[in-house]
């Protein structure tokens, strides 16, 4: 079964000098997943932000969790989302698991 293509969004404070941490995480994701991501989105923001979302799930927030995202934790979150069943194509019934 092909892996789901996952989107990662990184909102970083563009007036806080967070570019190195943002680019380091981006590079880590690019090297780990290559074509297995649908998108890596970089969002310049402010107010000290460093938020990482994987397919809509907030996996790291500097405000909530403190500090920058651990690369291994983000990679694990991507893998978890990849393992979820892909959305059915139009016209097909959703995949169900027999009980």
């Amino acid at each position: 079964m092909p892996k789901r293509l996952v989107k990662v969004s990184i909102a970083y404070c563009a007036e806080c000098g967070y570019e190195p941490q943002t680019l380091a995480l981006t590079e880590a994701l690019m090297k780990e997943f290559r074509h297995e991501l649908s998108e890596i989105e970089l969002i310049p923001w402010y107010e000290g932000s460093f938020d990482v979302t994987v397919d809509g799930e907030l996996v790291h927030s500097m405000f909530r969790d403190g500090g920058f995202a651990d690369h291994h934790a983000v990679i694990a979150a991507v893998r978890r989302h990849q393992a979820e069943a892909p959305e059915p194509a139009q016209g097909q019934a959703p995949t169900t698991t027999a009980r």
Binding site: S9, E15, G17, D51
Partner: protein, 199 residues
């Protein structure tokens, strides 16, 4: 670990700091030009009995440095009573770690005021708490007035691009309008430190 006179004098002067900036110099100097201290504010610094050493930690990429260091620079230039020496934070962590925000964070700018014996009189870190609170209150007000933006607690990465763009534009215009009031808060905080110096 105190800051010695020898260490203090290793710092850049204000003009040397500006000369070594590799980014944001135009914004920095615009803030310097636009700052209009009141006569009363300036008098608080001019009236100092002697020049005070002021140690600064800064970096040219930091928004709070760009906002607030120009104010200190103008006050120093116009009063002639502040001997400002500036250290780049990331190259001077030995100094930075003596002025941690809440004992934990390497926040900048730091403006540390000393007497002539280099005993600390007080410090200013990052921005006044009143400014932080006002910005947060405005952010919540914007969300309340624009329900299409969703919840103020929604992470930026979970907002649509349209909503993010709208929010950024609303907050950016407000922050520009607030600059004089925020500058006044900064000067108030600095005055509170220097007014401790006996006449």
């Amino acid at each position: 670990m105190a800051v010695t006179r020898e260490r203090f004098e290793q710092g850049m002067t204000y003009d040397q700091y500006k000369a070594q900036m590799t980014r944001n110099r135009e914004r920095f100097e615009e803030n310097e030009r636009a700052f209009q201290p009141t006569a009363e504010d300036l008098a608080a610094f001019t009236a100092l009995p002697h020049s005070l050493p002021v140690l600064v930690l800064a970096e040219d990429w930091c928004g709070d440095v760009i906002d607030n260091l120009p104010l200190l620079g103008r006050l120093a230039q116009e009063s002639g009573k502040l001997d400002v020496r500036i250290f780049l934070r990331d190259q001077n962590l030995d100094i930075m770690d003596q002025f941690l925000n809440q004992g934990q964070y390497r926040s900048i700018p730091v403006f540390a005021f000393f007497d002539d014996q280099l005993n600390e009189l007080g410090r200013f870190i990052e921005r006044p708490e009143s400014v932080t609170q006002r910005r947060d209150a405005k952010r919540r007000e914007v969300f309340a007035e624009h329900p299409e933006l969703g919840s103020p607690d929604t992470p930026i990465t979970q907002m649509s691009e349209e909503a993010r763009t709208q929010l950024m534009q609303l907050l950016a215009s407000w922050r520009a309008e607030q600059k004089p009031a925020e500058n006044a808060e900064v000067v108030r905080a600095l005055r509170a430190i220097v007014e401790r110096v006996p006449a």
